[in-house]
């Protein structure tokens, strides 16, 4: 429940006529949408609309509007709406249009402004009713069969949607994921070097503030960026860069095969759900032109365990995988690994002086700790699409 400026003024439609229209009442202070950031405004508005939806449900259950009239009004709205415009949620509503159109009325209106006209129309209707009745009965049967089939399909789709929803990981809270400033990272130069001279457009996902896109453009690369967080993109938009608020998977789905000269994957790509990661790999292989370059930056799995923010570590749908795993996945789609370099924070323990007593045992333990817990925290993998 959000705090609204006019909670106490919310419409009480219990009697169906609150007399509210037109009255300009003074209201209590509350949050001003204009003072909020974009996320805050979206939440505020979602809260208001949730309250209005509750009000709609309450009024609907009160039965204060005759069901037939409400259905007619809703159909009027649907007539002037794109079919399925709100995805599967409107399947059921759209189906009501099919249902209402399935019956064909044979009782053609005969009213006329002229008295003789009514008589003539009635005569025509009566004369051909045997013919029309035969035809219309068959068409109506067909309409009902189609309608029945659609009902079964919608039932099935809704059942599948419910099952899929149970598999969906919870959303990461806003702000849980730090925005990457990739150009200041150790691997930015590797990415620029790998992509310099690339023939075709290069996309960076997630591009964040667009710093790596800017470096690539400076190096003469025709680069653009995508990022699911549209707030993070603001500096890039202000800088005139070609960036879009899209997740990497959604973006690669709407690119032609062979259209990209290069792809840089970083940020949230590393903790995609395994099925989504697999789809990204497939699409990357398809969308890269022959000889196209792929750069993957990721945390190492070991570093992820010790450095990921708790919420991200617990709620992220997937986990980073090793560079070898990326190589294996990419190779299956015609993208061969060229190089892997590690970097980032390195917290390896130093070995002790080998001449001191027990040094061999201690160093063996140090090596083991380094290998398991304290190795390089990130890697950058460069691969190329086979020609």
């Amino acid at each position: 429940m959000v705090s609204l400026p006019a909670d106490e003024e919310a419409v009480d439609g219990s009697d169906g006529s609150d007399g509210s229209d037109g009255s300009d009442d003074a209201v209590a202070d509350g949050p001003v949408p204009g003072d909020l950031d974009a996320v805050g405004r979206a939440r505020y508005l979602a809260g208001v609309m949730a309250e209005i939806d509750d009000e709609v449900r309450r009024r609907r259950s009160s039965g204060d509007l005759p069901p037939n009239l409400e259905r007619d009004l809703d159909q009027l709205f649907l007539e002037f709406s794109p079919v399925g415009s709100q995805g599967h949620a409107r399947l059921r509503e759209t189906l009501t249009l099919v249902d209402s159109s399935a019956f064909i009325d044979i009782a053609v209106p005969v009213e006329s402004q002229k008295q003789a006209g009514t008589y003539v129309k009635r005569l025509i209707r009566k004369t051909i009713s045997w013919y029309m009745g035969f035809i219309v009965t068959q068409i109506t049967k067909f309409g009902w069969a189609v309608s029945r089939m659609f009902h079964l399909v919608v039932d099935h789709v809704e059942e599948l949607e419910r099952e899929v929803a149970t598999l969906r990981p919870p959303e990461l809270p806003d702000g849980a994921v730090p925005v990457a400033d990739d150009a200041s990272r150790w691997w930015a130069a590797d990415a620029v070097d790998a992509l310099r001279g690339t023939d075709g457009r290069v996309v960076h996902a997630d591009c964040g503030s667009g710093s790596l896109v800017a470096l690539l453009v400076e190096a003469g690369v025709d680069a653009y960026g995508v990022d699911p967080d549209d707030l993070a993109l603001a500096p890039a938009i202000d800088a005139g860069l070609d960036v879009r608020a899209e997740p990497v998977l959604g973006h690669l789905e709407v690119v032609e095969d062979g259209a990209l000269g290069g792809i840089v994957l970083s940020g949230s790509v590393q903790w995609l759900h395994p099925a989504d990661r697999q789809r990204v790999v497939e699409l990357a292989g398809a969308r890269l032109a022959d000889g196209g370059v792929l750069v993957v930056h990721s945390s190492t799995p070991e570093a992820w365990l010790r450095t990921a923010p708790p919420l991200v570590a617990d709620l992220a749908p997937g986990r980073p995988v090793h560079a070898d795993t990326w190589s294996h996945l990419l190779a299956a789609h015609g993208v061969r690994t060229v190089s892997v370099r590690t970097g980032g924070e390195d917290r390896r323990l130093e070995r002790v002086d080998g001449t001191s007593d027990g040094a061999e045992v201690v160093n063996a333990a140090v090596d083991l700790v380094n290998e398991l817990l304290a190795g390089p925290s990130e890697f950058v993998l460069v691969a190329a699409r086979e020609r």
Binding site: S20, D21, A26, R41, M49, L73, F77, V254
Partner: protein
């Protein structure tokens, strides 16, 4: 930098729509130093008949050079029959059927297409996607091209005849992110250079007269619809919803429908239909409205939503319209309705709460200020066009002209 717009209609007589957006951009950009802007268009101002009403040749309009070319065919009745057939399942229409639809939709202007082929402009901007001038022009252009699709989720967008046209473009300029997502999904052009630009909002004008006086309703509060009064703009639905609302909520509230009338809504004592009004009257009526309602599900940008915010009026939009929903959601400047019930509840909420309305309108005003000031729009547009020019033109190999269809009965207005 020399920019040529290609648009099916052009002129101050063309109210609303993509062609007006093209004119606004052309005039604004043409005033900037370093830009030389001209327009290639038809001799027609009527998109229903394509009748040649303007003289062919070159004129100047508000500082922009306009080259007009005659249409070679009026709209034929065959268009409506084919449109009805293809509308059911546009994606399954054959390429030849869909090319015939584009040709019949017109305007077919062979001389304009020749002018595009011979153009030595730095860049050509096609605006919007829907017409034969865009499809035929894009096929023959030899310089960098951008398209302002002005697309929304309509049957024609799925016709195969548009596929090569979209893919041949060197860049896209979108009104909204929703439009970009739609176009990318339908045509797989996600890798093309693009910018989500929108349009700038003019400074509010008006003579300071009371909107209620102009409407003849005195001090009564009112909701306002601005634009062409047309069934397909949701006006019939809005009038019916409002009439039901008034049955259940008697009171002073009125509805003003302001704009040229294509389809008269049902008579109702609380609904005022003004017909076309002057720009000053429009702003005066809008400024005093309680809420600006946008009932249309098919908007690609909706400038009036932004205009309402600039004069402190919140908006109520159709929940199935991607463009206006994007404005409302991103700005926090309005509510939406997806049924009669939610129309009733949102109108109740908005009409009863002045502070809430003011808060919404202020959020909308900030959003408009941030994204839709003309100076920043023009700066971003110019930078984008320069980047497209720098990349050069991708040849559209294999493109062929649309069939010119002249045989058949012509559509007559009012017939």
């Amino acid at each position: 930098m020399r920019l040529t717009f290609v648009t099916p209609r052009y002129g101050t007589e063309v109210i609303g729509g993509a062609e007006t957006a093209a004119r606004m951009l052309a005039e604004r950009l043409g005033r900037h130093p370093g830009w030389d802007v001209d327009v290639l268009t038809s001799c027609s101002l009527d998109h229903l008949t394509w009748e040649n009403t303007e003289p062919a040749g070159t004129t100047s309009l508000n500082g922009v050079t306009v080259h007009r070319f005659p249409t070679a065919s009026r709209r034929l009745l065959e268009y409506f029959a084919l449109d009805g057939r293809l509308r059911v399942s546009p994606a399954t229409a054959t390429l030849e059927q869909s090319r015939r639809w584009v040709s019949l939709n017109g305007p077919m202007c062979p001389d304009l297409v020749d002018a595009v082929a011979g153009s030595d402009a730095d860049v050509i901007a096609f605006y919007p996607y829907l017409f034969a001038t865009t499809v035929d022009g894009a096929a023959v252009a030899r310089v960098p091209t951008v398209m302002h699709p002005a697309a929304h989720d309509e049957a024609a967008l799925y016709l195969r005849a548009f596929r090569d046209c979209f893919r041949s473009m060197d860049g896209f300029v979108y009104h909204t992110q929703a439009e970009r997502a739609l176009v990318e999904q339908v045509f797989s052009v996600g890798a093309h250079p693009q910018v989500v630009l929108g349009l700038g909002v003019n400074d509010p004008a008006g003579d300071g007269r009371a909107g209620g006086d102009l409407l003849g309703i005195g001090d009564r509060p009112y909701l306002c619809y601005l634009g062409r009064v047309d069934e397909h703009k949701g006006c019939t639905m809005l009038a019916e919803f409002f009439a039901r609302y008034k049955e259940r909520h008697p009171g002073d509230l009125a509805l003003a429908m302001v704009g040229p009338v294509s389809a008269e809504p049902p008579d109702h004592p609380d609904i005022v239909v003004t017909g076309t009004v002057s720009e000053a009257d429009k702003w005066d009526i809008l400024r005093d409205a309680r809420v600006m309602v946008s009932p249309s599900a098919y908007e690609s940008f909706s400038l009036v939503v932004l205009e309402a915010w600039t004069v402190g009026v919140p908006v109520l939009v159709n929940a199935t319209c991607a463009a206006t929903m994007e404005h409302a959601r991103r700005s926090g400047g309005g509510l939406w309705f997806g049924s009669y019930r939610s129309f009733e509840a949102t109108v109740d909420r908005l009409a009863s709460d002045a502070r809430f309305r003011a808060d919404l309108a202020e959020a909308g005003r900030l959003y408009t200020e941030r994204f839709y000031r003309w100076d920043s729009i023009i700066e971003r547009y110019g930078a984008f066009l320069r980047s497209v020019v720098a990349r050069g033109h991708k040849e559209n190999a294999g493109a062929r002209p649309l069939p010119l269809i002249t045989a058949g009965a012509a559509y007559e207005r009012g017939a």
